[in-house]
Each structure stands twice: as C-alpha cells, then as structure tokens.
Symmetry: C2
Subunit: 191 residues, 2 copies
C-alpha cells in the first residue's frame, strides 16, 4: 500500500532494538483518514471473502479495526483483552501470548459468546513481528470452532519470523507494508 | 440519547458492585453503527465548539473516539496509555489515576508532542463513574497548556461522584446516557 509506505518513510522513526515508531499516525496518535484508507485496502484484499466479525487485540488494533469495519458492511468488532477484568465473566476463550518486546507472558481473552461456529472472523492488528499475538488470536477463533477469514496486518516486520509462522498455519495473511530490513538510517520494504 | 438508552435497557446487564456490563455493544464487542450514532450525537452536542484533536484512554475509549472523529472533521485521535511502553519516549505528559474498580493506582501517559498549546482537545470515554480517569485526562491537557473543548461520555453513572467532580473543574461535560440508579432488576436513567 503505497500511501502507507510513504507515510512510514516520512513519519516513522527507527529506534534501537528493531523498534519502528509510528506513533504519530498509527498507534498513539491515529490519523483517521489514513486509517480509513487502510480499512479500504483491507476490504480490497479480502474482496469476496465472507466476514461476519472482525477480531483484534487491545489497544493499538482497536482504532484500525473499528474504522476498517465500515468497509466490511459494518460488522461487529471484538477486541481481545490482555488483562483480567471484573467485566469478563461467563465462558472465556483464552490463549497464552509471549511478548518479546516486553519480556512477559500474558493471557489474551475473549468471551466465548462473541465468537460462534458460524462466524467468519477477520483478524486485524497494527504490527506483526514475532507473531505471538496473532497466533494467539488465531487459537481463540479455532477454540470457538469459527472460520478464520484471514489476517490483515498494517505493518509486518518481514525480517522477523511472525509472518512465516502465521502463513505456516494455512491462514491467509495480508500485510499492507512489509519491511525487509531496517536500521537507524534506512528502511527497505519488501517487493 | 434515546437509541443508546434503549440499547442499554435491552442488552446491558447489571452485576453486583454497581457494574454495568455493556460488552456486547460497547466495550468488548463494538456495534459500529451504534458507535457512529454516538459520534454523531457528540458532534451535535459540541456543534460550534472548535475541536482540533480528540483525546481518549486505552482501551475501551479508542473505538468510540476513532469513529467519533469522523464527525469532527476527521481530527486526529490520541489515546493515553496506561502502561509504560518502550515505544514511549521524549517528553511525557503524565497523571496518576486511581481505579476503584481494580483497586490500583497507575500513571496515564501521552507524549507531549501530540498536545500543543494551540490545541482544542475534546476528551471522550466510554464510562464515567468516580471520574478518576477523566480527571487525569483533563490534567494532561492542562499540563500541555491546551484548551479543553469539553468531555463526552457515553454512559455516566450519575449515582457516583465523577460527574460532579468533573463539572466542578468548569469543564463542559456531555454524557449521552446518565444512570440515576441501578440494581439487579432495574435501571433508571436521569431526566
């Protein structure tokens, strides 16, 4: 997605530890017209694929998924929670996720009643690096016996193994910008 | 907002401890057309008030704010973070927030560069109960020397003191549904 790549080159900042800061437009401050273009692009890529709900994970995925839903017939958006909440009860779908960035392991959770066997779930998130969060979301959908329509990612760090791990599950993965390599003074996209 | 009140009566569930579960449409699964109506109602209530950015707090406020932004000329949306992240650097606006629900105290944070003295900030969130998160967001904006356009809340628990505390600061507060009292088998709205 050319518009997105240009924006990453213009406003993204590479930090030590392979961290790409895109917080001025994607995951701290959100550029709403850009999110709308991102949603439209996901809809183009998944054209013809049935989608009954969108699943994402708090926090950065939520804005992306909410705006994208408008391009998928206004389907409901569910966000998986990373912390136990008094608000969560009933049957819970859960998966363990390791965050290499934070050096922690945590459970992600969705109330079972929101994901049903007849659902076609599109999973959206902002970043794909080691793939642990995305694999966790895939597990949640599989636990519920629902169909995975596919996974849509805004920025994939193609030099890490997450994309490979997700594709190996057989799930269709569409990343709008894939970074082949990055260092303090350069950032190269795949293709 | 009548549509919202009807939805709360239809799908909300009151749990012990004055907890109102609205997770089937607002803060776990999100009903996007409803969020769009909510955004439109905020825009009606704040018509004529300059708004250059919307500020909310992760996680439940993000979807509401992202969709609402479309009704405020697509202004950028910033979400305050509740946890320290490697992605946060530079100058930080911070305020301490006590969560009575979780029994914890934590810092909320926004990178200073996103809130400037010339900004007119509309603060949006899903719930207002004891008002601590909202007062923290107000503090962040005041630290930056920006103008507060107002606060928009989807559901205010009118029987708790948050609304009074916020109004006492002189900031304009618009709540789309104010609950006067609630118990296991009844829920009464104000006005």
């Amino acid at each position: 997605m050319e518009l997105l790549k240009q924006r990453i080159l213009q406003d993204g900042k590479v930090k030590p530890g392979h961290i790409l800061k895109v917080d001025s437009f994607l995951n701290h401050q959100m550029d709403i017209p850009l999110l709308d273009e991102i949603g439209a692009e996901f809809a183009r890529r998944f054209a013809g694929v049935p989608v009954s709900k969108i699943l994402t994970i708090e926090a950065s995925g939520i804005g992306i998924a909410a705006i994208a839903a408008r391009h998928f017939g206004n389907v409901p958006v569910i966000f998986a929670k990373k912390t136990k909440s008094k608000n969560l009860d009933g049957d819970i779908l859960t998966a363990q996720v390791t965050s290499y960035t934070r050096g922690t392991t945590f459970d992600i959770q969705v109330e079972s009643k929101f994901v049903n066997p007849g659902d076609h779930i599109l999973i959206l998130d902002d970043f794909l690096a080691r793939g642990q969060a995305l694999l966790g979301l895939i597990q949640l959908v599989q636990q519920a016996g629902a169909t995975i329509a596919g996974c849509g990612i805004v920025i994939e760090k193609g030099f890490q193994d997450g994309g490979e791990l997700v594709r190996r599950t057989g799930v269709r993965l569409e990343s709008l910008a894939v970074i082949k390599e990055m260092s303090d003074d350069s950032l190269v996209f795949a293709d």
